[in-house]
């Protein structure tokens, strides 16, 4: 059955159809959340579960505007923000963290995942959506509920930081 069909069936309360949607989207959603939680797999999976449960409850509100995957990612992002505020995991907006010369020498061996952990949540989310998941700037901005200009700034800053962090490792 097509994704559209599964969504329609699930919105009518068909649990098997919803299970199909979870199976289809779990990898992408959990991967996205792992990036956001800096590799905390348990927390990422917990957030992913909560996101799917919220999606199940709100499925009737999904009117097919945009993709189902985008809608799920939007729920996951808002779940992550709630969790981050509750746990005070990190500043949600721009961090002032810049790789200084000393830190860069220590970080020379860092791979992309490790370097990503140095970025702010917004930068990690923007870069992951636009590059690894292939969303357009407009779609990614809608998922993150940010003005497109803010997303572009996040991406530019994130790229600059990554370049500095990975520069010597290249």
């Amino acid at each position: 059955m097509s994704e559209e069909g599964l969504v329609r069936q699930a919105a009518r309360g068909d649990r098997a159809a919803f299970a199909g949607l979870v199976r289809q989207h779990q990898s992408r959603l959990r991967g996205f959340l792992r990036r956001l939680t800096k590799g905390d797999q348990a927390l990422a999976d917990d957030l992913a579960q909560e996101s799917f449960l919220e999606a199940w409850r709100k499925l009737a509100q999904f009117r097919g505007q945009g993709s189902f995957a985008g809608w799920l990612l939007r729920i996951a992002w808002s779940r992550y923000l709630m969790q981050a505020r509750r746990r005070k995991l990190e500043p949600l907006e721009e961090t002032d963290e810049r790789a200084g010369p000393e830190e860069m020498s220590v970080d020379m061996r860092l791979d992309l995942e490790s370097a990503m952990r140095k970025l702010s949540a917004g930068e990690r989310a923007g870069l992951t959506l636009c590059y690894a998941l292939g969303y357009s700037n407009e779609d990614a901005a809608a998922i993150l509920d940010l003005p497109p200009g803010t997303l572009k700034s996040h991406i530019a800053r994130g790229r600059a930081k990554l370049k500095a962090l990975l520069g010597d490792a290249a």
Binding site: R15, V22, Q49, Y131
Partner: protein, 98 residues
Amino acid sequence: MTEDKLDALLRTPLPPLDDSGFTTSVMVRMAPATHPLAALEIALLAISAVLALMFLPVRAVTEVAVHVSSQLANSTGAAMACLAIVVTLYFLRDLETY
């Protein structure tokens, strides 16, 4: 690192994750679907309540209530009982403070 290299690195897809029971755990945590019978039962209850209100002898019930309350109001026994309850409660509250 060049811009092209960074682009290529960033475009690396996220590694696929095995389900490994994830879907099952989501399904277990999902609230049970509302049984169609539950909706039917609620509808029947609502209809019964409306019918009961329509055919309830409201006037007769009101008359009885008025009669009983006026008798209670004029009854020395009922007044004494109320007084006893108030006094008991008052002393009980005093006792709790010790």
